[in-house]
């Protein structure tokens, strides 16, 4: 049974279609793996009955030779996606026991295509964090450990539960969201593949909002191919989200194995940071060589406004968050803590319901939007955002097809190790990923190597708007060269 969990999504799909395997078996293997891996805290809600029922329905369809592209494939869902009849909390105390009466567009498309839901995965509260330590349900332990050490490490965040679930082979893929790096950073930390598609590629309807102009859903998977298969089902137009683009969804899987010969790959010099670990520089160099060997042309490019991206991001995202989270007021749903009057109720509810990092960002956001500060902070950050976008546009206009950068400035770190005294230490994790959200571009993180302690390291490929296919093609070249990184079970 256990070896069923080592299959990739594509392998499992093919075996299901050939009836060499039933979804019931496949699902049961994953349900059992999840139970055994509870110490990771990757799942905040397991839905084994639902999984079993969905698997049986899939088997019935498969038996008739029917079924969608994901028929019978067990997946995990980040707790930011509203799931009908299944508790959805964004891992916040303020949404205690909130059970949506509706299904997010992205997950409804997965179920439409036959996928099976295993449960809801842990994440940083309201997706605010880079280590999954801000979750009301507690931190997730990475399936990875430093060589010979038992100290628990973070899986990254905010999609830490999804990353850990994929890395520990508890599911064949997971949904995630990325506002500043929340798919790509945990993918890099856990040796998995994660793609944040172009802003507007996936509908945001039914996903608990963090920062509306930056949030995008995307898959986390074991391989580049698996990510391509999942994104095909997750993406697409949605009349319920006016920022979602009305463009046909390509057959992403067809891009796997496509030649990258002649593609111009930009190497942005601003991504070479002072004090960056030599190991990061080394895998970046390695990645360049692999792409070159595959026939791509490397060009040095400049994205001069990169250094302003992180500070601007930490104005725009909290500003939007402070407004998006205003609805959690104890009046209609979720947690309510009584107070002496309505203001007292608001204060007591929000003080008890939100964790420290969420409160910090709501306060930052409220501050930067305040009269007298708006122009100096929010407006200026929006201008920076325009400049960052223009930097990319100019490179793409000069014939660059994609860019290659490190995904993170370091490998995974220990739980409780960072950001305790200075939150900026944690925010710096997003330094290579936020620019992509600010510019609305697609970005994929692919495992590319390990550090000296055996922890995975990832590379990031940044693409032109709605050109996810090129990222899949390039990502697979790196994957083929670097091999897969599978955590050895200790849990």
């Amino acid at each position: 049974m256990t070896e069923l969990t080592t299959l990739t999504l594509a392998e499992a799909r093919d075996r299901l279609r050939k009836k060499e395997l039933s979804s019931a078996e496949l699902t049961a293997a994953h349900v059992s793996a999840i139970e055994k891996a509870r110490s990771l805290n990757a799942f905040v809600l397991e839905t084994p009955e639902q999984a079993t029922a969905m698997a049986e329905a899939s088997d019935a369809r498969l038996a008739k030779g029917e079924g969608g592209p994901l028929e019978g494939i067990p997946l995990a869902i980040k707790d930011l996606f509203c799931t009908k009849g299944v508790r959805t909390t964004a891992c916040s105390h303020i949404l205690d026991n909130f059970v949506p009466t509706y299904e997010s567009t992205v997950t409804s498309q997965l179920w439409r295509d036959g996928a099976v839901m295993l449960g809801k995965t842990n994440n940083d509260e309201f997706a605010m964090g880079s280590s999954n330590e801000t979750s009301y349900f507690g931190p997730v332990q990475s399936p990875w450990r430093r060589k010979g050490l038992n100290a628990p490490l973070v899986p990254g965040g905010s999609s830490g539960g999804s990353a850990a679930a994929v890395a520990a082979q508890l599911c064949l893929g997971a949904t995630a969201t990325d506002t500043g790096g929340s798919i790509r950073q945990p993918a890099a930390f856990t040796g998995t593949v994660g793609i944040k598609p172009t802003y507007g590629r996936c509908s945001r309807w039914g996903i608990v909002a963090f920062a509306s102009s930056l949030d995008q859903a995307g898959p986390m998977a074991k391989t580049v191919r698996d990510a391509a298969i999942m994104l095909r089902s997750m993406a697409g137009p949605d009349a319920k989200d006016t920022t979602c683009v009305d463009l046909p969804v390509p057959e992403y899987e067809a891009a796997i194995g496509r030649s990258v010969k002649g593609l111009r790959i930009g190497i942005p010099k601003e991504y070479r940071l002072d004090g960056m670990p030599a190991e990061i520089e080394k895998i970046w160099q390695q990645g360049r060589e692999w792409l070159k060997a595959a026939g791509a042309e490397l060009v040095d490019v400049s994205l001069p406004h990169t250094k302003y991206a992180l500070p601007a991001y930490y104005i725009v995202a909290p500003a939007e968050a402070s407004s998006n989270l205003a609805r959690y007021d104890g009046v209609r749903y979720g947690l309510r803590v009584d107070g002496k009057d309505i203001t007292g109720m608001y204060e007591a509810t929000r003080a008890a319901g939100f964790g420290g990092e969420v409160r910090r960002r709501v306060m930052i956001g409220t501050y930067v939007l305040s009269a007298g500060y708006y122009d100096a902070y929010y407006l200026r950050a929006q201008k920076v955002r325009t400049l960052i976008k223009r930097d990319f546009e100019q490179c793409f206009a000069q014939g660059v097809h994609a860019m290659l950068t490190p995904a993170t400035p370091s490998a995974s770190f220990g739980i409780g190790e960072k950001g305790g005294a200075d939150p900026v230490e944690m925010y710096l994790n997003d330094v290579f990923t936020v620019t992509v959200n600010m510019a609305g571009l697609p970005g994929i993180a692919v495992p590319a190597g390990s550090d000296a302690q055996g922890l995975p390291l990832g590379l990031q490929l940044i693409g032109r708007p709605f050109d996810e296919e090129t990222l899949f093609a390039l990502g697979e070249v790196i994957e083929q060269a670097a091999g897969r990184f599978v955590a050895q079970p200790w849990w």
Binding site: F81, R204, A209, T242, T243, S323, V331, Y333
Partner: protein, 485 residues
């Protein structure tokens, strides 16, 4: 003329300066950003979508019809239509505001500057500038009297589309302010973009009032919130202007604040000061793309715009020969104008105007009917006028006939025939009556000969004897002959 608008204080004349922010509920089937119904009077929380209740992950989608209504209104106000506008979030906490912000338009509204021409009772017309018009969501309703310690919230109105129409501070008296709102309401109703029902809250106004010495810069203003009666607006302005004048004349200064009008006491009272004002932290709503309109779309709406009261009034004066006063009266409500035009079609327009304004409106008011449900249709009133026109009945009989048609209905000509109401022009039938009167009243004959006005006594007697059916002209002619005048 302008001096009459000044208010006399203890130390001289004052000028009141008024600007208005009018909230007009957009006529549309569904809400501004959701598909929920806008119908008035549903059970509490029966018209609430997931978006209106601000459930997690819900997103607004603009209702195109509300946008068209705003553009129509802008065109009706002769205003600039902004082909690109932006929706912003106005952030504040209140239980009847589920999102914690109102989606509104702040820096880039859909409609820019325009104007409304307001006719005053004096006959003077003043042009009042429109600063802007923007679209925004209405809030829900908090209900505080259902439970001793808890408040209830009804979200039926939450998310309903409003147009906020902001005037320039061009109004100079309570009369102008009332006339402005009346005219604006009329335009909205003509356009069909707001039903103007103030009792149901479809039209509300915030009124900004300040006073100054004529020719001096604007004074500090106070805002009187949430007025839903034109009459109360007049009272509130009068009171507020007096209050401010008294303070300044006593050596005080006006604090910028928000005030509420108490109709019972006829006065305004402080609601919150400027220091207590919210910081709404406006910023562009990232869930919505900027609103882009095409020239074509605006052109199509412009071409389909109905004739508006000002144009209609001009036409009534020029083409139908009505007085400005009558024309203004008839065009104030589109239904009245339509009724009038149906009556006047092919008939004496002035006579039609008289009947609609005096007889019909008087009767409608008495019974509390509106013109759409008038028991006397335009065709029936036209029939009555035709009978006057061909001298079948006199004006006086026509009023009796009108009353019969009002209560019993029927075709006017047939009613006249059936009841023998046609006026008598056959002099032989009344000749005997006249001869008899002349013979029996020699003193009256003498008086009439001395003063022809005294002949009216004979006219009255003849009319009475004929049951009102004698033709007044025929009676006059006959009497003149018989009396030798």
């Amino acid at each position: 003329m302008t001096t009459s608008k000044l208010i006399k204080g203890a130390t001289g004349d004052w000028e009141v300066v008024i600007g208005m922010e009018v909230h007009a509920q957009v006529t549309s089937k569904s809400k501004l950003f959701s598909g929920a119904s806008t119908e008035f009077g549903g059970a509490p929380n029966s018209h609430v979508s997931l978006v209106d209740a601000a459930m997690p992950g819900m997103l607004p989608v603009i209702n195109e019809e509300c946008v068209r209504q705003a553009v129509r209104t802008g065109l009706g106000l002769k205003a600039k239509i902004n082909l690109r506008s932006v929706f912003d979030r106005k952030n504040y906490f209140y239980p009847d505001l589920p999102q914690g912000y109102q989606i509104s338009q702040y820096k880039q509204p859909v409609v820019g500057e325009g104007e409304v021409v307001v006719d005053l009772d004096s006959g003077e017309a003043v042009s009042i500038g429109i600063e802007r018009l923007h679209l925004e969501q209405d809030a829900g309703k908090s209900v505080h009297d259902r439970h001793p310690s808890m408040s209830a919230v009804d979200l039926n109105r939450s998310g309903v589309a409003l147009m906020e129409i902001v005037s320039k501070p061009d109004l100079r008296s309570s009369e102008e302010a009332m006339a402005f709102l009346t005219k604006l309401r009329s335009i909205l109703r003509y356009l069909g973009t707001c039903d103007g029902d103030m009792e149901k809250g479809s039209l509300r106004a915030d009124v900004n009032v300040s006073v100054r010495r004529p020719g001096e810069p604007f004074g500090t203003r106070c805002e009187i919130k949430n007025m839903n009666s034109i009459r109360f607006i007049g009272q509130a302005i009068e009171h507020e202007a007096r209050r401010q004048i008294e303070i300044i004349e006593d050596g005080g200064t006006i604090d910028q604040e928000t005030r509420l009008f108490d109709p019972g006491k006829g006065e305004t009272r402080s609601m919150r000061s400027k220091e207590e004002a919210h910081d709404y932290r406006y910023f562009p709503d990232p869930d919505l793309l900027p609103l882009e309109l095409s020239e074509d779309m605006v052109g199509t709406l412009q071409a389909a715009l109905p004739e508006l009261p000002d144009e209609k009034k001009t036409r009534f004066i020029r083409e139908l020969g009505l007085s400005a006063y009558d024309a203004s009266h008839l065009v104030a409500e589109r239904d009245t104008a339509d009724y009038f035009e149906a009556v006047a079609n092919g008939r004496d327009a002035k006579l039609a105007a008289n009947w609609v304004i005096n007889e019909l409106n008087g009767r409608l008011n008495k019974d509390g009917h509106d013109i759409v449900s008038s028991p006397v249709s335009a065709a029936q009133l036209g029939g009555i006028l035709d009978l006057i026109g061909d001298k079948t009945i006199s004006g006086k009989i026509a009023k009796d006939l009108f009353e019969i048609i009002w209560t019993e209905g029927g075709d006017p000509r047939e009613v006249v025939k059936a009841r023998g109401m046609a006026q008598v022009t056959d002099l032989s039938a009344i000749g005997g009556i006249v001869d008899d009167l002349v013979a029996k009243n020699p003193d009256k004959v003498e008086q009439a000969k001395a003063n022809p006005k005294a002949m009216m006594w004979f006219v009255g007697q003849v009319m009475k004897a004929s049951g009102g059916k004698a033709s007044p002209q025929a009676v006059n002619d006959l009497l003149k002959t018989k009396l030798g005048l």
